[in-house]
Symmetry: C2
Amino acid sequence: MYDISHILYIYSLFIMRTSKDILNCKYCVYRNLLFGELDDKEYEIINNARTEYVFKRGEVIKKEGERINSFLYMRKGLVKLYKTDRRGKDQILSINKPGDFINLLNIFSNAAYKYSIAALEETLVCDVRLDAFIDVVKNNSDFALSVLNRISKISDETIERRFSLAQKQIKGRVANILLFLAEDVYRKNKFRLPVTRREVGELVSMTTENIIRTFSEFRKDGIIDLDGKVITILDFKRLKNIDKTG
Amino acid sequence: MYDISHILYIYSLFIMRTSKDILNCKYCVYRNLLFGELDDKEYEIINNARTEYVFKRGEVIKKEGERINSFLYMRKGLVKLYKTDRRGKDQILSINKPGDFINLLNIFSNAAYKYSIAALEETLVCDVRLDAFIDVVKNNSDFALSVLNRISKISDETIERRFSLAQKQIKGRVANILLFLAEDVYRKNKFRLPVTRREVGELVSMTTENIIRTFSEFRKDGIIDLDGKVITILDFKRLKNIDKTG
DNA sequence: CGCGGCTTTGATGTTCATCAAGTAAAGTGG
DNA sequence: CCACTTTACTTGATGAACATCAAAGCCGCG
């Protein structure tokens, strides 16, 4: 009975208990982004309805049309939100990073996902059962206001981004996404492009070939350095200017 | 003292009292769009914080950057939401119609308007003081959920619209807006275009000249009839097909 | 080691913006 | 109310921006 595997099992229970305490939402580094207004009982409700999932690069987290029954929350990694049209072509709505509430916009308006979600890097997601989440919203008006706030901000940013994209031409669009990755996602001037050239095109509504040509042009102009997927931004100032002037 | 003008003044007070009773939010035709969950006391709060305004075609209702201190609600007419860039060029985000909550997306995320709002036709707007509105949200969780729902829907629709626009070319974009006006706004196949050709261009990110050319082409193809501002849609089927296939 | 997906470059054609120039309509001030 | 000014509308010509097609090298993976 008391063989090695059993000891390991007991040990794993101990680890799980410990990590559960540590990883309770109450102590989560992202707590203040949304859950700042909860009391201990409410943390318990959320925490008990919570599961963590890890997804590998390429894995689909949610599929367009799938029923929504949880609130999702990114802890680590990178994902894309996208739609596939009838011809099988993808369009990417946004790329999201840790701290983002990747399905908040959909939760209250639809029973089903309007976009698919897939991991671009190894991604850690918190999944909170929707009934528990809505329960807390209903009983804590400060929290409800906070959610309202968040939804508004997300929607504002998404609309703003799409709106400004519409008036830019290709160089401005590419500059924009490079700056997004360097400044918002990786906070470094050198990073590994987490998407293919085709995906960049899907994000800014341009063809793969023209994305490649624009990358090459930026390299020739000394604005970036390119080594396969690894991009180094050499001239932030000029890149920002291209982003601004379209 | 008791001359004609004074009698008219007394009479006008009487009319105002009467119309105020009739136009109480509780009896508003649009009540169920958002205010379905309120009790009598809450209607009173909203109603007491409410003012009605009429704007003529061309009048600016709110200016980008202006402080938000009310919840706005369209009762009659047509407005555009737009942004003016540094070169003085306008871009139109959306055209809104009665029943729309024209600033709901901005209320909870920003202290200031991110877009300007202007009347395209004679427009009747209900203006509810923001403190009263938020008060009711805080104390009625069903109402809060309802607002969450509305915000999500509006944001969904706006994003969806912008997103689908990005992949269309000019004919699809023009078809799209013609269908929007015919089916959603006027519910007739013949209507007076409420915007200039330039404004159509500002809405779909195209030049005035190309909007005109596209209108002419649709006329030559027998899809629409054109008489200055008056447009008649002759072939819905083909127009819808152009909208769908981009 | 061969297959499929990603990347790259060049050639060609389409779509659209820009420029120019003129007519029609709608305000505006005397 | 009329002359005047501005704004809206329209068409054509030209060129820039971008998509499409074609071909080939590269890389990872079964």
